[in-house]
Amino acid sequence: MKSITQEDIAVLQPKIEKIAADYGLDFFPVIFELVDYDTVSQLAAYGGFPVRYPHWRFGMEYDQLSKGYRYGLQKIYEMVINTNPCYAYLMKSNPLVDQKLVMAHVYAHCDFFKNNYYFSHTNRKMIDEMANHAIRVRRYIDQVGLEAVEEFIDTCLTLENLIDYHSPYIKRQADVTGNGAVKPSSKVAKLRSKRYMEKYINPPELIEAQLEEQRAQQHEVQLSFPNEPERDVLLFLMEHAPMANWQYDVLGIIREEAYYFAPQGMTKIMNEGWATYWHSKMMTEKILEPSEVIDYAEHHSGTIANHPGRLNPYRMGVLLFQNIEERWNKGQFGKKYDECDDYTVKKNWNKNLGLGREKIFEVRQHYNDVTFIDTFLTEEFCREQNLFSFAYNKGNKRYEIESREFHYIKQRLLQSLTNLGQPIIRVLNGNYANRGELLLLHEFESVELDKNYASETLRNLYKLWKRPVHIQTKLDDKDITWDYDGKDFKQTRISNN
């Protein structure tokens, strides 16, 4: 097979771009690059970016991705990043029909990035921002050493998911992203020094000791804070945990990047569904040559294949979008339709409204996975797609099919999507027991926390807070805290009075 060149792509691109635009897709300029597998593995390890700050976990992910390819376990077809212009990477080794499909897919992703509400506050110049983060972290490594910075990053990463996912606005109470961020709450008197002299004139240990003292004083006057339980735990830590300037900046970088990636996690089903909807429409209606149909069908069906026991976001998303389009074309919505309880009438309901296309564009603009499922998943859809809910059976320690009833399925789906399927945790008190200890609250819904992971995470949190740390949760329907005081991990029952 003749391998694809950048010239081939250059010939294809305007055609596909025009088709996409004619359908009404609205995207940033797209830059396609043909890369080999090794490069795409590196990019994937870096979350799609050419430059990230130095950290071993990127190496670990690269190790797994490149191995996955060698062993034939997994294959990356494409990668798009949410930037303006939008960079998209195509695998050199893929045949032409795959490239066409992927390019169509990419234009739809890019439309989604540009128009979906939850992406509206992301930094579209993130490539530069990431490169900037890398430079800053390297500078700190030069100053305080690789191990100190690495250990601190490891610590921060265990808390990386403790941000307010459903708030699209990253709070800027503290200006955490400016170049060489300076910690605003830090009022420790420092001798003015040239940067390269910094660590000699103001030894970090000394500064930290002073900060510690300052914080202790602060706690004396404040009995309990924050006033409202704080969802953005990272921000709270930046404002209140005793840290050196470089640590403050690194934590800010981690937080900034976590917010950048958050919308992608929140719109996985929609974003992939949208892209799959459009590549399939564009390919079958406009792009495919007759000779390519078989290859296309093979790839496309691979994309939306169902894997028993796990939800394929591409499949779920595309089927729901198609379902919405059909319903709005036929007028299967609204009070009258909902109140009709004659199955045959409902099934044949068709008012020929033709509102489907308009509706799906509106949906891609205003929804995220949680609201998408909450609003558009129907009982009929669950039945047609043979969906079921499953749950953990404590008795025999396995996952079992729970029900095929609509409300169970919907509730379990929403549960697995809410907060990206992670526990919701807030800061309850930064002056717990009036001893400057930190108390987090797990907002218990129905799923218990994993104790081993909680224990390990508290250990890391202690490294930042430097005083005992606690998390309040429920275990066997009883309120408890897990506590770590720097030496021992224990469990305390909370008396309910």
């Binding site: 071993w56 990356i76 490169a131 992670q422 994993d450």
Partner: protein, 370 residues
């Protein structure tokens, strides 16, 4: 595309190695690496590499999926197969519970941790093979050895730092200072003719537990010696009252309940050496494992004679590991200590009461650099 992934990757490997070193004693004595060994790679469980987070446990957990089945039927969940499949690159913080190492990397780790000296191959008609090995990167070198990737990376780094790099119109122009070259070292490798002859007492008093210990011992000895000599041959002799040569599989699985006549194994071992491995061409390693409960003193004497006259003069190393059985441990090790060890540099006697002692025993055996 120019990226720093090499640095992150190397750092990752370094961290893995460090963690394996920290837990080496455990890995050596619990044997979980056996059976995880492929031709060149070994996979090692390493949950410590995972970045912990607050996450849900199983109680109360659930989800939705599609397919056939009735309520109450078990479902496989994504947790079951998170290692393979799935869409790549979109799951930050995947759980990694195993890492892979090459056998050479593993050997390096045990070498460093047990402070094993590199082996000096025997003298006499020694064939030294030399090999040019590209070992690193240097700032000077011949143009033919210029490392383009590294050179470009240096240039990119410089341009980013100096603000000359335009992400939207990336142009990388290396200058003299950015040039990097492969550097190499000519290393002498010991000649590759090396053989290990393992002997094991499979008499009735050697039970599965003892044989398991022997299996672990041989695993680490193999790993180290394979690293020292490329192309290693291994032979296996079992004995109770009689000795026989068997294949590897049989060596570890055979069940006998015969008596213990150790000289039968030494006799066969001596014959194998005399027939197949001329001492001036081969580096010969012999290891014998037993609970030390030889049938008779006369046989002890026969053993001493064969060792002294036919085995020790030919071998780099004769290692005797006495494994404690359900009934304790016999006197054969004392006999060897008194009658053989003496001035023989190439004799190592190691007492192995339990699995936890394998670590020290390996160190005994391989710590001489023979």
């Amino acid at each position: 595309m120019l990226m720093h992934i090499d640095n992150d990757y190397n750092r990752f490997r370094q961290i893995i190695k460090g963690k394996i070193k920290d837990n080496l004693r455990k890995y050596i004595s619990n044997g979980e690496m056996i059976g995880r060994r492929g031709k060149d790679l070994i996979s090692i469980p390493l949950p410590q590499i995972e970045i912990p987070r607050f996450r849900f446990g199983n109680n109360g957990q659930g989800g939705a999926s599609e397919g056939e089945g009735e309520p109450g039927d078990p479902v496989s969940t994504s947790d079951d197969d998170e290692e393979g499949g799935g869409q790549a690159g979109n799951k930050p913080g995947q759980h990694l519970k195993e890492v892979e190492l090459t056998l050479d990397e593993l050997a390096e780790i045990i070498g460093e941790e047990l402070e094993l000296p590199r082996i000096e191959p025997k003298g006499r008609k020694q064939i030294i093979s030399t090999k040019d090995k590209y070992t690193g990167i240097s700032r000077v070198g011949p143009e033919s050895l210029r490392h383009f990737k590294k050179t470009f990376r240096e240039a990119l780094k410089r341009q980013i730092i100096s603000g000359q790099f335009n992400m939207e119109r990336p142009r990388i122009i290396p200058i003299r200072d950015d040039f990097r070259y492969r550097s190499w070292k000519t290393t002498s490798l010991p000649q590759s003719n090396a053989v290990i002859i393992y002997m094991m007492d499979v008499s009735g008093s050697m039970w599965d537990e003892q044989k398991h210990i022997v299996r672990l011992e041989t695993f680490w000895i193999d790993t180290w010696l394979q690293y020292q000599y490329k192309g290693l041959t291994t032979r296996y002799i079992i004995h109770d009252a009689q000795a026989g040569e068997v294949d590897r599989e049989t060596f570890f699985t055979v069940r006998e309940n015969g008596g213990t006549v150790i000289s039968s194994a030494y006799e066969l071992c001596a014959r194998v050496i005399e027939e197949d491995y001329p001492a001036d061409e081969w580096n010969i390693y012999t290891f014998h494992f037993s609970d030390g409960d030889n049938w008779s003193r006369e046989d002890n004497k026969a053993c001493a004679e064969i060792l002294r006259e036919r085995i020790l003069p030919s071998v780099n190393l004769f290692g005797y590991g006495q494994v404690e059985s359900t009934y304790g441990s016999g006197e054969f090790i004392d006999f060897l200590e008194e009658n053989i060890k003496g001035d023989n540099e190439n004799v190592v006697l190691s007492y192995i009461p339990d699995k936890d002692s394998i670590y020290d025993s390996i160190k005994d055996f391989l710590g001489k650099g023979k």
